[in-house]
Symmetry: C2
Subunit: 277 residues, 2 copies
């Protein structure tokens, strides 16, 4: 049997359904494996399997049975509560590695999960490989463009993120007039922008400021790409920023049409920078 | 005439008056030069001159006339509004350097100010050189001590600050259970702690977390030392942290008795780490 179907292992959020719609629209075969807590509806008519972490062997066999050769892991995954009595052999064999990774953090856990799927004979691809329109090409997206002062702020934010990357930290930073107004920590980009909106007024010396978001060095982009969306634009507007710069090809834009429209309406630029040479 | 008096160039805040009281208590001669906006009262009976930025030549001559040989620059300084018609020759000669530094940022400005005072024939000393009790020796100050997990969080925060130092950023960071919950930006430590208090709950995996504060690499400690005080302890307590770690000899503790008492009462450790070897 040909294994030309794409399997979407679906966590929380809009992305899995967006990918399902994209497969359906482009007439390609696909199967959805809905993780616990994910409703089976809204997947553009694709077949939906109920996936359980305790039964990875069953999940892999079902996907193979549906002709799946490549898998996209999409959407947010909560740390699951497992029923230890229900583990199948594949999950049981994986358990020690998963337990070790759980202690090491999210990055380690994702690498283990990718490894398990690959060992089961599937190719793991990123959502942006299935649907290239999820990421931006370098240059402007939307009507507005960064001014020279904004480009300086972008460069300063990138230098800060370069430094933070050495400590395995930092997907985003806000810089205005050369001053750093905030660095993203585990609370995420929306919390960073709310902090800037609440605190920056008396520190902004000139320039409106920019949000720069990009992957950390070595980040596993197939399963863990930074993302922005309409909420990011709204948060940046509330923080009084001039715009948002992301790494070309390295940041998912959720609901691209709405994101660009929101930036255009708010007078913000949305700009994709080339990767460092 | 002997120039054995200490001149306190006094900006805003409690530190200048603390230094004046320390000079008076230890029976050493001192003179205060109160910058614009600083009330002339509360300087423990020391003579108080009114300093104007426009009249630096006059200020230096007055200090020399009072037998001042060394100068402490203490307290916060707002960026002053100058009356260009009132400049004396010394200020006029310094103006181009000051203007350039103003564009480069606070660090550059402080270096120029130190240079001007030194060129006028004074030694510039740090507040902690006049009053060593302003900084902590390594080890615990107060009743509580960091647990092993706290020491790991301290080490992680120091690694993050090491990385940030390369981008000339970062006097403080909060880490809990290995996760970074916040990095200090231009808004300061109190804003950082308020951010952590408001956002961290669902991200704290284990460990209560620590605030680590220390100078940036190359920071001019004579005139720009990081500081903590009772407010820092209150903010750390509101953020649910286990304690505060500072660089031994590198962070001013404002109102030490009250700061240690607040940490003891709140169950927080106050710990001074040795400088990196």
């Amino acid at each position: 049997m040909a294994r030309d179907a794409t399997g979407i292992v679906a966590g929380q959020g809009a992305l899995p359904r967006l990918l399902a719609a994209h497969l359906a629209d482009t007439g390609r075969p696909g199967v959805v494996a809905a993780l616990p807590g994910v409703a089976a509806e809204g997947f553009a008519g694709l077949p939906v399997l109920a996936a359980r972490y305790e039964k990875l062997g069953r999940l892999f066999a079902d996907l193979r049975g549906q002709g799946v050769g490549r898998v996209v892991l999409a959407g947010a995954i909560d740390r699951p509560a497992l029923d230890p009595r229900a583990l199948d052999l594949t999950t049981m064999r994986a358990a020690p590695r998963v337990m070790r990774a759980l202690r090491q953090g999210d990055d380690a856990l994702l690498r283990v999960v990718v490894g398990l799927v690959e060992e089961a004979g599937f190719a793991v691809i990123g959502a942006h490989e299935l649907m290239p329109a999820l990421v931006l090409a370098s240059g402007p997206a939307g009507r507005h463009r960064p001014a020279a002062a904004d480009m300086e702020d972008i460069a300063r934010a990138e230098a800060i993120l370069d430094a933070l990357g050495q400590a395995d930290l930092g997907q985003a930073a806000v810089v205005a007039g050369g001053l750093c107004l905030g660095v993203e920590t585990v609370q995420g980009t929306d919390a960073l922008l709310a902090f800037v909106a609440a605190t920056e007024a008396r520190h902004r010396r000139g320039g409106r400021g920019v949000l720069v978001k990009r992957p950390k060095p070595g980040q596993e982009l197939r399963v863990d790409m930074p993302a922005i969306g309409p909420d990011t634009v709204a948060g940046a507007a509330r923080a009084g920023l001039a715009g948002i710069a992301v790494a070309a090809g390295g940041v998912t834009v959720l609901d691209r049409a709405a994101t660009v429209a929101a930036a255009d309406a708010a007078g913000l630029f949305l700009w994709a920078t080339d990767p460092a040479p």
